[in-house]
Amino acid sequence: MILRLIERAAVFLVSLAVSSVLVFAFMAVLPGDPARVALGVNASDQAVAELRRQFGLDRPLPTQYFDWLGGLLHGDLGTSYVSKVAIGPQVFDRLQVTLWLVVAGMVIALVVAVPAGTVMAARHRKVSGFALSAVSQVGVAVPAFLAGILLIVVFAVKLGWLPANGWTPPAQDPGMFLKQLILPALSLGLVQGAVLTRYVRSAVLDVLREDYLRTARAKGLRPFQALWRHGLRNAAVPVVTVLGLQLATLLIGAVVVERVFVIPGLGSLLLDGVSNRDLLLVQDVVMVLVLAVLLVNFIVDLLYVALDPRLRTAS
């Protein structure tokens, strides 16, 4: 088991190193000279050269890469070419916003998916199970931004119950924070919940078919009781995997929902960075997103080992 943990950690670190090279190399080919964009279009070549020197853009690419990487390791994300402001605090601020949104979305998704999926599995031959199944199919097919638009029209504009958009940090005004969080979290959570429901359903179905559950039922336990006592831990393994994958999707998928609800998250920082050609900012944000995804996968790997006794002995 220890060996396995070390192996996982090694894979995680190597993946991180490889992706940092990929991200850097990709950004290095971006057309549009960041120094020229920062200076305006008719800046003299001399001024552009001066700024390139100032940003260190005139150095060889490997030097630039290791410099960037070294900074990252110390938590220093550099200074934006465009706004001349340190990038680290900005990314940190925006990451917090996105994390709130993603975590709230995930909670909603779980609250929807676990009961719905279990019921669908337990009653998969009944009308109620079929109806839920159909609803989840439709839910999967609706893009989160469409759900967001519909929620705004109904709950913000028509009914006036909740604000249409905006963001307030929780420390500043917890009430407003919650009010503004509900609609975007719902539009992310309901759609992800529909996806998750289908995995919960099949995971629970698999478990229901296992011999120990049949035995438990033969002993007179009702299906839900049997499931509760014996099945959930086993059903959790595939669900956790999917949850990890979904978290990754949500982190980036939040960008569209952030756009609809005018939320200053990591996604909108990325889009702003791209349109301002704030090269270093884009590079940093992409790297942070990739790091977050790899980290989630790593944690899922660990949970996997912890949850599934069979896997502990494997390999």
Binding site: V37, G40, N42, V82, A156, A164, R259, V274, S275, N276
Partner: protein, 505 residues
């Protein structure tokens, strides 16, 4: 006319300002008692588009920063009033020498920077000289005509020009004329220091900028204690924010189609005026196909401007026939020079040999450009041209490809800067419009007296329209929507600044 050989970035940020009654405040020294504003501690929230990337307009181009800071945080020696006239601000009065080359300004003596330093003629000299030395944006060329600026006394400034220039004094009303403190320019991008009625307070990046009242302001103190400018990416989100009372004012309506929901609601007031934003269908005049004036005229005649405005901007805005907005003294209605005439357009294209040719319409990713581009394509194709649309991301990709490299046939962009006729139509600009006759008119306008200026600018505008150097699709409207009880909103947006100090409830 050297000062107008400027090349600037252009962005669709309709600037807005109301400068009525400014003369009253100029020169009148207030007691300086703080916090005695009628608004008490009232707050206001204004929704805008296009968040600035930095607060430093000396090195970062674009209209968003002066919109926010000019007139509010930074002040100029002279400014434009609502009718476009140049009136006193930090300068109480000024005189011009007989040879029109020496300007002497008498400055107010009560103004203070927010870092506590008093404003003196030395700061003015510093600010003027700093444009030439430290500014990097291309607009700084407007200051090239200055040969010397010196302080005659703490309240008297003398500026000597290399040659007479009407344009220079006008440019002093724009961001070029902003007055900085020598000890307040160390962190322009994050900490602006000026003499204005507001102080910069806080920037929540990606969301909003907060301004607070400068209680030590030398002039009439503003009503609101705090004004938050919230930035939106999306026009619909901006509208929704007002509908759900997240903001009190929409500074510039970007989705004119959605305006009906406000006009029909008594909770809101809708203001519709004019701006300086000419939406230009630009031609790359260096391309062989545009060398023939008949092709250019045909394109202008193939476009039904009324229908275009109705379709892509909900009929809001004004049709103009040249590069002059109605608020400039030399405005004339020139829409009759190239009236919509599809048959004539077709025959002109046949005659010039351009019929059947494919033109590349390279659009910036801005909503109005995307919309109008599709209408233009459809209309030109009916006249016998082929139009291939491609979209370039704004600002970076569009600025590099179209603006800097002039790698395009046609494009659409709003030129929002004031009095930009000469700047936009010259051989070095992306229009690549090389016309000695036009340059002659412009030079005469800059050097002459007021009457000569108006006369020559009229000739220049007419020349552009007759030569079909481009096509002016329409003038962007100043569309402001606000809660009914907000007062002091600008009717027309003719300066670079959104004046917050006149707003009241």
């Amino acid at each position: 006319m050297k000062s107008s050989f400027r090349i600037r970035a252009v962005a669709f940020v309709a600037t807005a300002a109301v400068l009525a009654l400014t003369a009253c405040s100029a020169g009148s020294s207030t007691s300086g008692s703080s916090g005695s504003s009628p608004g008490g501690d009232q707050k206001l929230s204004i929704g805008l588009v296009a968040e600035p990337a930095s607060l430093d307009f000396t090195t970062t181009d674009g209209a968003a920063i002066p919109q926010l800071l000019l007139g509010n945080v930074y002040e100029t020696l002279v400014k434009q009033d609502d009718s476009g006239k140049i009136v006193p601000s930090l300068a109480k009065s000024w005189t011009v020498s007989a040879d029109r080359k020496t300007y002497t300004f008498d400055l107010v003596d009560t103004a203070k920077f927010t870092n506590g330093k008093p404003f003196t003629a030395n700061d003015a000299v510093f600010s003027i000289n700093r444009v030439k030395t430290a500014w990097t944006i291309s607009l700084k060329a407007a200051m090239d005509v200055v040969s010397q600026a010196k302080a005659l006394s703490p309240t008297q400034l003398q500026v000597t020009l290399a040659k007479p220039s009407n344009d220079w004094l006008f440019r002093m009303t724009t961001r070029i004329g902003a007055m900085f403190s020598e000890s307040g320019v160390s962190a322009l991008a994050t900490d602006p220091v000026g003499t204005g009625p507001f102080k910069f307070s806080k920037w929540n990046r990606g969301d909003s900028i907060v301004m607070v009242r400068n209680d030590d302001y030398w002039g009439t103190k503003p009503f609101f204690q705090q004004i938050t400018l919230k930035y939106f990416k999306d026009a619909t989100a901006l509208n929704n924010a007002l509908l759900t009372s997240t903001i009190n004012v929409i500074g510039t309506v970007q989705a004119p189609e959605a305006l009906s929901q406000f006009t029909s609601n008594t909770k809101y007031q809708v203001i519709e005026g004019t701006t300086n934003g000419e939406v230009l269908l630009s031609f790359n005049n260096s391309r062989p196909v545009f060398k023939d004036i008949r092709t250019r005229q045909a394109i202008r005649m193939a476009i039904d401007h009324k229908a275009l405005l109705d379709t892509c901007f909900a009929g809001r805005g004004k049709l103009i026939g040249s590069m002059v907005p109605p608020t400039d003294p030399w405005y004339e209605d020139l829409t009759g020079i190239a009236p919509y005439d599809l048959a004539k357009a077709k025959s002109l294209l046949q005659a010039s040999g351009a019929a059947g040719k494919t033109l590349r319409l390279r659009l910036p990713t801005l909503p109005y450009a995307t919309s109008c581009g599709q209408v233009v394509k459809s209309m030109l194709e009916q006249a016998g041209l082929k139009v291939q649309i491609d979209q370039l991301e704004f600002p970076a990709a569009w600025l590099t490809t179209v603006f800097k490299n002039a790698d395009y046939d046609m494009s659409i962009i709003a030129h929002v800067e004031p009095r930009d006729l000469g700047a936009v139509f010259n051989a070095k600009y992306y229009t690549r419009y090389d016309d000695p006759t036009l340059q002659g008119y412009l030079a005469a306008a800059d050097a002459g007296d007021e009457a000569a200026q108006v006369d020559n600018m009229k000739k220049a505008a007419r020349r552009l329209s007759e030569q079909a150097a481009g096509d002016w699709l329409f003038l962007l409207p100043n569309l402001v929507v606000a809660d009914k009880n907000i007062k002091g909103l600008p009717q027309n947006a003719i300066t670079e600044s959104f004046d917050l100090s006149k707003l009241a409830r």
